[in-house]
Structures are given as structure tokens and as C-alpha cells.
Amino acid sequence: MSASVLAVEGLSVNFGGLRAVNDVSFAIGENEIVGLVGPNGAGKTTIFNAIFGMIAPTSGRIVFRGRDITGLAPERIAEAGITRTFQNVRLFGELSVRENVMMGAYNAGRCGVIASIARVGRHRRLEKLAAERADRWIARLGLSAYANMLATGLPLGLQRIAEVARALAGEPRLMLLDEPAAGLNEVEKRQLADLLLAAAAESGCALLLVDHDMHLVMGLVHRVVVVDFGRKIADDSPAAVTRDPAVIEAYLGA
């Protein structure tokens, strides 16, 4: 697949003596929405963390837009154009919603302490860029009414949306979503799913979605990668995956 944004090639991760991820390979195409699913403890989070540089893979490569990003620090990966959300929402508590989303655009360029003190042109440009992106995504995701409130003062549903806005403000080519629907009710889930679809289409970024909620995942994604016991057991369209005997076995344990 020449148009792939991300290619995970033969990824393995060991913890102590335990092989948490075992030779997993998959790719994500431009603008593609891919679900990464599997039972609890199957290795989803580990794969996720390995892609984002939170843990070092034991072997294998991660290639993002033709560039090997294996072993890069998370901040470098963010600069390369991958952003993420967190399972247990991690908004910045001292900052307003707008400032949180502005932080998302931090990866747009480097500008050090001295440059900030001196207010060089680069700093002004980056600040302007961050403000523009923040305002755009806040308006787009319907957060305008809360823009100037402390982010952690919002209800959970809105916090999740604010976190998505923050990830989008980084103008990613790929956004990783770690259980974006956890803790949301049905109505909120549907709204979030709609927002995600629209935002991904608008910004032209691919999505990799990790969730237990098969219902949400199946309705949202183009393709599903299923892992169990650290191995990939299926990689296909949602419809095909639900018919796959290996998947059924993994999920039902029978």
C-alpha cells in the first residue's frame, strides 16, 4: 500500500519475560479510519503506546509517511504529525478550554524560552497560528460557549470533545484515539462519533481508534484490526471481521 500513512511492521514488545505484542503488522491508508480492537489485555494499549513512542518496541519498525519513527520520543512524533487523545481524559487543569486547544498546536514549530521572552516574529506567528486553529476547532466542535472556562470544569462528554479539538489543532495526518467513548452515554457517544467522522474528513487525517465498544467501532471505521494475546488475528472490513471464527472465539472465550 503506497498511500499508507502509517505502517507497523513486525512489532513486538516484551515486558519482563512477557511478550505483550507479538509480531504485529498493519497499515493505515490516507484518510482511513481504522479500529484496533481486542479483548482486555490483548495488547491494544501496548501497540498504541509503541506507535506513540511511550514504550520502546523490542523489535519491528513503525513507519510514518515513509519515515522510520521507531524509538522517537512522543514530542518528536507529535511534531512529525501524529496526535492522540487519552483514555482517562488528560486536559490541562490550569488552562482554559481555548488554551488547551492552543497547546495542541504546540507541535507546529519550535520556539525556545529566549525567543519567547524576546517575542521574536516566530513566536508571534506560532501564537497567532495556535489561536486561529484553536478558535476554528472550538467553533467547529461546538465548544465556543465554554472556550474561556477552566477545561476540567466541564462535564466529561465535553472534556472528551475538547481533547479531540486539542488533538486536531496539531493538524495531524494521523490521530490516535484511546477509548474515546469510555464513560459516555449513548447520546454522547453518537455525537462524538459524528464529530469524529466530520472532523477527520475535514482535516484529511486518518484515525486509529482503540475501543472495547464494538458497536461504536463497527459503525465508525473502514477497517478493523483485531488482536488477541498480542497477535493480530484479523484485519478486514467490519462486516467480514464479525464473521471471522477466530474473532468470535477470542471474544466469546468458548
Binding site: 519482563g16 506513540f52 511511550m54 520520543a73 512522543p74 514530542e75 507529535a78 511534531e79 496526535t83 492522540r84 487519552f86 488528560r90 486536559l91 490541562f92 487543569g93 490550569e94 488552562l95 482554559s96 488554551e99 492552543m102 497547546m103 495542541g104 504546540y106 507541535n107 507546529a108 520556539c111 525556545g112 524560552v113 519567547s116 521572552i117 524576546a118 517575542r119 513566536h123 506560532l126 501564537e127 495556535a130 461546538g142 465548544l143 460557549a145 465554554y146 474561556n148 472556562m149 477552566l150 476540567t152 470544569g153 466541564l154 462535564p155 462528554g157 465535553l158 470533545i161 486539542r166 488533538a167 496539531g170 447520546v187 454522547e188 455525537q191 462524538l192
Partner: protein, 641 residues
Amino acid sequence: MNPTDLVQTAVSGLANGALYAFVGLSFSLVSRSTGLINFAQGDLTMLGGMLTAVMTEATVPLFIAVPLAALICAAISGGFYYFAIRPSTRATMSQLVIITVGLSILIRGAVTSIWGTDPRQVPPFTAGGPIAVGGVSILPQQLWLIGLLAVVAIATTWFFRRTVLGLALRASSGNALGASFVGIDNRVLGLFAFAAAGFLGGLVGAVWSPIAYAQVDIGVGLGIKGFTGAMLGGLHTAYGPLVGGVLLGIFEAFTAGYVSSHYEDALIFALLILALLLRPQGLLGGANSTTQDERPEQILSTSVRATTFGRRDFIGIAIGIAVLGLIGAVLPGVWVSNAIFAGIEAMAVIGLVLLTGFAGQLSLGQAAFMMIGAYASAYLTVRSGWPPILALMVGAALSVVVALALGRIIFRLRGFYLSMASLGLLMIALTFAREWYGITGGPSGFVGIGAFSLFGFDLGSDTAVYYTVATFVVISLLFGMSIARSRIGRALLAIRSSESAARACGVDVVGLKMRIFAFSAATASVGGSLYGHYLSIVNPSPFGLDATIQQLTAVTVGGFLSLWGALAGSLLTVALPQLIGWVSGSVASQFIAGIDYIIFGLLLIGIVMTQSNPALHRFRMRLSHRGTGAAVDAKESVRAP
């Protein structure tokens, strides 16, 4: 060196090592049960010695005095946990560490006020001179200490293997959540650990006191050495603190005997920094023991804090400059010098607001950078005849280099290593200031520093100094504000909340912490330079731990996240001792020196406790929301759009 000497050195090292082992074990107990570094540990040991000294002077027999001293220390330590730490449920680790710094000062203050600062002698437990064994002479008291170490080592093994409480302590330090599922109450463990640490500290202080003297000043050094030993051996292992403490004692004896008796302290703290660099989990620690859960800092804001310049900032700065200008013109003579000292302190505190407040990194070593600035200015202007402004800049550059180097080591590690390592840095700096006569002039200091001058204008009068300092303060404030009101300020507050989320946004967390540490070092250094020029003399004494305490109190009083608060806090902490001095007038000065400590200690403990008490927090939130709008209501009523 002949074998007898070697053995002799090892034996005396072993005795001191026993002391460090005990203190390290106390650190370890508290850290394993609560995750805290208890800064008062050394002072509890000091208190054990003091109490024994005072009681034996009052002819209380030793066999009563020693256990009683240990029990009193246990009660103080346990009571402190129960009344100050346990209720502060919203406090983050760095705030809890600040509370323990408060206790440390409180103990020092109380001991100073009641018994003074003079050393006190304690009679040895068994009479008689040194015992000679094959040319090696041992004091009976050293034998007592080594014997006690053996007893405690055995008791520790027994405790951690055979008692339910010991198992529970290990379980809880390995997996606190799992421990709560089997019914282990972490608060009970915390109480036990603090009480036991107090007991052990007090006991070893009592047994050690006949070898040296009991004196109020020894607490801090003992604390750092005990901690260093524990870190060397492995803070979170069963025997690491004991092994590390003994090794440290022997290392110290050999460096003093064969390398340099002047720089032994500096070498020990260098060892601490080296240990943090090479093996933060300790000699006996497993490979994974440094992994830590992310612990977000407590949210201090009750309303949105600006991270871009607004009109209010410009008005604030204008008013600030006007007020500072006016004060210089109208302030009576005596107060001008206080204002100068406050300004110099504010230089250090402004950096701390960004480092400790914004980025959540607790540093106790700002005074080390003040010292670097002060001595650089003194040396370069007096010896080399440099213009003061150039010397000041070189000092700041030197401080930046030191901060970057130390930061590189420290910030790779998560946790509270910076607080201990920066304290170690301060101790190294103090050692050099006292011992490196060629550069620093030793304890009596460097004299004859000229007044600060710029482009040939001598700025020596108090008023001129005031305006010079005020100018530098305003510049630092503007710099600090430019950082706070920028993407960097936002990034620092982000680090404070969640390092992993900040990194996911592209923030180079380690690099940014290093740079902010360097910035805080630079402002402190400039403050130090100005201090030297103002007093025309630089010696180590004003840069000791008292300076750190004052700065920490100023940041705490100022509210951690406010640069204006830094100014206000500096003013208050400079003015307070003066006011106390006036009010108490003729009372003995030792009593007053103690009262200063007590008040600073109470301020630290009180402010952090009020910030982190859940009931009081809710109250503050309600107050602030009444003022700024209906955010709380929004939270209850708003659902997703």
C-alpha cells in the same frame, strides 16, 4: 597507609555509617508507605540527641533518657502525620514535601528557642577510654552504635518477613491499590511509618550524641547524608538503606582520611548526584523500581489564568513600576535596606515561581546560584578588575551552565529527586565557599567589593542601590511574565497537569524543565551579584539553608503561580523577622532566631494545609465562582451540545 590505619578508618566510618543507615532506613520507611521524602528526618535525629543531652543534664538516668527521647520523636513524627499530612488529601507530593520542610524548620525553631544553638555534650553510655584491639582503638560508644545497627538489621529482617505489618508495608509499596483491596489501610501504614521513623531517628540521635555533640545545626546534613546512603543502596529495598548508609559512612571516613577532610561533604553530595545519574534505583534495587505513575499536580487555579498578555498586565506593570519608583523616593532610611534585601530575594523567588509553581519542580537550591553570582562578581571585580555588569553576566552564565548540567541528570528521572539534588548542590556550593580560600576567602569571606556601577556611574548610595535592584527586579519580572504569558508558560502549566499529554502536544518536557531551571538559576545569580555589591562582602552564611527556607516560604505565601505574589512573598518574608525583632525588643536573640523559624514553618504547613484540605477547597471554589460566573452550574447542567 598501613593496614592498622585502614582498619581504624573503616571502624570509625562504620560507626558513622550506622548513623546514616538509621536515618536512611527512616527515609525508606516513610517513602515506602507514603511515597514521601520527609525532610524533617535529619532534624528528628538531631532532636533525639538534644533531648538526651537536656535530660542527662537534668540528671535523668541514661536508661530512661534515651528511650524517652526516641519516644518523644516518634510521637512528634506520628502526630505530624496524623494532624498535618493525613488531612491534606488534595495535596500533591511536592506540597506534602513542602509540609515536611515546614516541620523541619519548626523543629529547628523550637530547639533554638528553647535550648539555643550551642553544642551540648552527652556522657558516653559506658565509661572508660577507647578500647584498643591490635592497634585499632574503638570508642565504647562506637561499639554501642555498631551493636545497635546489628540489632536493627536483624529486627528489620524479622519485621519485613515475619510480621503482618511488615508484609503489609511491602505490599503497599509494591501495589497500593492491591493493598487496599485486602483491607490494608494506607493511612495506618503512614502513621506507623512516620512514628517508627521518628523513633529510629530519635534513638540513633541519642546513641550517637556522645560521639559528637548535640547541636541544632546538624539536622540538615544528617538528613541529606542519610538520604544519600538510602539512595545509594536503594531507597525502596529492605536492606538498601542500611547497606548504603554503612558504605557512605566508610566512604566518608576514607575521603576525609586519605583524600581531603575539607571537601568530604562536597564529595558525598557529588556521590548523591552521581548515584541519581547512574543508578537511581540503588545498588540493591531491581531494574524496574523507578517506574512511577504519573501524579498530576493539584489544580490551584479557581478561575482562568491568562497565558497571553492582556490590558490588565500592562496596567499592573505600569502601576508596579510607579509604586517601586515612588517607594524609593519616600521610604525612610532603615526600610530602604530592607526593600533592597526583599528585591534581591525576589530575584530568586521569581525563578522559583516558574520552576516550582508553573512546572511543578521543587528546588531547594536557589541559594547555590545566588552564591555563584555573588562570588563570581566578587572575584572578577576585585581580583580581575572587571566592570560589575560584566562580572554579573559571567556569574549568571556560570549558573546557567551548572543548572543545565544538573538538570540534564535530574530531569530524566521522575519524582522528587530535584529537591534533594538541588539541596545537595547547595551543600557542595557551601563547602566550596568555606574551603576554597584562594577564590572565596573561606568562612570569613571576600571583602572589599566595590559598589555596583554602570558605565562609570557609581551606584553606591542606598537609594541608588535600591533603584538598581528595582530595575533588575522589574526586568526579571518582565522576563518571567513574558515566559508565563507565552506558549512556554502554557507548556509549563501543561507539564504541571500531565507530562504525557504535554509530550503528546509536542512539548519537549525534559528540555523545557532544564531551560526553566536555568532561567531560575540566572535570576538568582544576578540577585546574588547585587547582594555582594551592596554589602561589599560575600561570605557563605547568608546563603545557607535559611535563604532556601525564606524563598520557599515566599513562593508558598505568594501562591505558587503568581509573579506579583513572588514580590509580595519576598517583602513579607524579609519584613517578618524585622517585625518580630521589634516586637520582642529585648528578649534574648536566640529565642527570636528560633521564633523566625517557627513562624516560617507554621506558614509553610498552614498554607499548604489550607490549600489541600478538601472542605476548604470547596469553600474557595464556591467563593471564586460566586465572583466570576456560573462555572459550577455549567458543570451540573450542561450536557454535550
